[in-house]
């Protein structure tokens, strides 16, 4: 069975809460989904931003100081965008796939460039 951590059910319940004005217990599944997204955004997002920044630093033209500064500035923007994306995703699982996948790809690219440079 596909593990589908859906934030929608949590939201339905909270809307019901607003209407009924009675405290309804939020399901553990919802809370887990939120926690999962927070981790994907903070940790996964950082990995993605750092990997992207490293790649940009290696690829951007100009003096090392210039490339590094440009890369880090862009990395910050990428981090913010990644966080937004994680919470806009339909599910936490999809968020992890996207962030993790991108971070992995960029990390591999970084590694490849590092090997090439070392040679």
């Amino acid at each position: 069975m596909r593990m589908f951590i859906n934030r929608i059910s949590g939201l339905d319940l909270r809307l019901a809460w607003l209407i009924m004005k009675k405290p309804v217990p939020v399901p553990a599944r919802y809370r887990l989904g939120v926690l999962s997204r927070c981790l994907a955004a903070s940790l996964g997002g950082y990995a993605l931003a750092s990997a992207a920044s490293v790649l940009l630093g290696s690829l951007l033209p100009g003096a090392p100081a210039q490339a590094a500064v440009a890369a880090m500035m862009l990395g910050l923007v990428i981090y913010a965008a990644a966080v937004i994306w994680v919470f806009a995703c339909r599910s936490a699982a999809k968020a992890w796939l996207g962030i993790g996948g991108c971070a992995l790809l960029l990390g591999l690219a970084d590694l490849a460039l590092y090997r090439v440079a070392a040679v």
Binding site: S53, A67, A80
Partner: protein
């Protein structure tokens, strides 16, 4: 029912805003105060005389003093006076057994005399707090940076959520309860949006080398320290030769520096290996001479012959853009009017966060107006709102009062002022918990704060040699300005306290609630 992108962003904005709002309020308020940190420091050290600006003479006096007091030191640091700072500060590395990194003294810039100045952090306390949170390196910076990232994401999600951002651009409807709070929150946010986005992003840029170390590590192939050599080439001294040689007069070198860069201001003069044949004098340009903060901009001179060795300062490309962001955040380039605008927009950002926190609570409290016992979560939010906002304002007042009241010769005086700041904040938190963050707690804390701020000019008059009347008479607008602002703040807080006290508790429930957010 499918949740749209906008609804997801509304959820993110609400929860991220709440989680980090209390900390961000403190960072924004102390950061805003930092725009006048030189003036606050000057107010906090009335022993420093106000003199006509003469950088050349000040450097002569500094050199004479250092030759006597710090002849054996490996380096000298001289901070000459400028329009915003009237004192002449000198520093040199302290012997290791003293337990601190530098010995710092203040001299009278006109006579060179060593001044006895009360030990205080002054405005620098707020400046460092807003990015270090008075926590040890590097934890404070990391937490502050995390909060800054949260701020950036909260702002972006807020912009996405605000459907009628253009339609309601000019909308502010006071006197309508929660609707007014939302209008206010949107107004301070949207009208100064360029400022808020710039401040938040630039704050992250300032710490980006710490936040993304992997980049420097890879670009500099395992030796990230080389980045700093690229950016600050003059900061790394050659080793001392061990031969004594008399130093050239700093005033003569200053003349040469001014010839190289006409009209420049210099924030700092470093003397590396003073008294040695390998002595070097580096004049660092004041960051406020241009918008971009390029701390490497400097002129290096041979310390014995006074000959110009070279200038440095990368002025182009990404470094210029990054420096531009750094400079926009610091606002060193600002003249008086521009500095006041920075202050006002900073207060706007603080208000944006504060109104957000109030809105978060009042929306949910609507359901419990007739319920004597709201859920514990809401009571905690109410307590934290009160403690982090009114409590912080009280703590700042406590810090200022401590500066006026603590004995001048008290050992560790500057640390005591900081401790009083935190004790006051803690007391405010306990009081807030006692009052459960309700209206009465607000009235009490705001009233007490109003009284403390109103007392500041009086304390200054009684306990320092430079009270408000004398400061105005002497044209010392830094000291007078802080005292006068304290009075204004006192009036504002008193007015706020009255408003909170007079408002009916059921008013919020009677009014049409603003759009429902999940």
């Amino acid at each position: 029912m499918r949740e749209s992108f906008r609804q997801a962003m509304a959820w993110l904005h609400t929860w991220l805003g709440l989680t980090f709002g209390w900390l961000l309020f403190a960072m924004f308020l102390t950061g805003t105060l930092s725009y006048f940190k030189e003036e606050i420091t000057h107010w906090a050290q009335p022993e420093v005389p106000v003199r006509a600006l003469d950088t050349r003479a000040a450097l002569e006096h500094a050199q004479a003093f250092m030759q006597g007091a710090a002849s054996g030191a490996s380096s000298w640091y001289i901070m000459p006076p400028n329009e915003r700072r009237s004192g002449l500060e000198v520093m040199w590395p302290a012997p290791s057994e003293q337990g601190r990194a530098f010995i710092s003294k203040q001299l009278d810039p006109a006579t060179g005399q060593l001044l006895f100045v009360r030990e205080t952090k002054g405005g620098d306390f707020f400046y460092r707090f807003h990015y270090e949170l008075e926590l040890s390196y590097p934890f404070g910076r990391w937490i502050a940076s995390l909060a800054a990232l949260a701020m950036l994401v909260t702002m972006i999600s807020g912009i996405i959520t605000h459907k009628k951002i253009f339609k309601e651009f000019f909308t502010f409807r006071p006197g309508k309860g929660q609707r007014s709070w939302l209008d206010g929150h949107n107004a301070v946010g949207v009208l100064a949006l360029p400022f808020h986005l710039m401040i938040t992003y630039s704050g992250l840029v300032i710490f980006m080398a710490m936040l993304l170390p992997a980049t420097l590590f890879t670009v500099y192939k395992g030796a990230p320290a080389k980045f700093y050599q690229d950016v600050f080439p003059n900061a790394f001294p050659a080793p001392a030769k061990g031969e004594q040689a008399p130093m050239a007069p700093l005033s003569r070198i200053y003349d040469q520096a001014m010839a190289q860069w006409p009209g420049a201001r210099f924030a700092r003069v470093e003397v590396q290996n003073p008294g040695d044949r390998a002595a070097r004098v580096v004049f660092y340009r004041h960051a406020g001479d241009r918008i971009a903060y390029l701390p490497g901009a400097s002129l290096a001179f041979d310390g014995v012959t006074g000959q110009l060795l070279g200038s440095s300062g990368v002025d182009e490309g990404a470094l210029l853009v990054g420096g531009g962001f750094y400079g926009l955040h610091m606002g060193q380039f600002a003249n008086t009017a521009e500095r006041w605008l920075y202050f006002i927009f900073g207060l706007g950002g603080t208000a944006m966060i504060g109104t957000g926190l109030v809105l978060w609570l009042s929306k949910r409290q609507l359901k419990y107006v007739r319920d004597p016992k709201p859920p514990i979560g809401l009571r905690w939010v109410a307590t934290l709102n009160l403690a982090s906002m009114a409590g912080l304002v009280l703590a700042v007042a406590g810090f200022f009062c401590a500066n006026r009241l603590l004995p001048l010769e008290l050992a560790g005086r500057e640390d005591w002022e900081v401790q009083i700041f935190f004790f006051t904040w803690l007391a405010a938190f306990l009081h807030a918990a006692l009052r459960q963050g309700q209206r009465r707690g607000w009235v009490e804390q705001l009233s007490l704060a109003a009284a403390q701020y109103a007392a500041l000019p009086v304390l200054g008059l009684l306990f320092t040699g430079r009270g408000l009347p004398r400061a105005i008479a002497e044209g010392d607008w830094a000291t007078a300005g802080v005292d006068l602002c304290a009075l204004l703040v006192a009036l504002l807080l008193a007015w706020l306290a009255r408003k909170v006290a007079s408002r009916a508790t059921v008013q919020a429930a009677a009014l049409r609630p603003a759009r429902v957010m999940p």
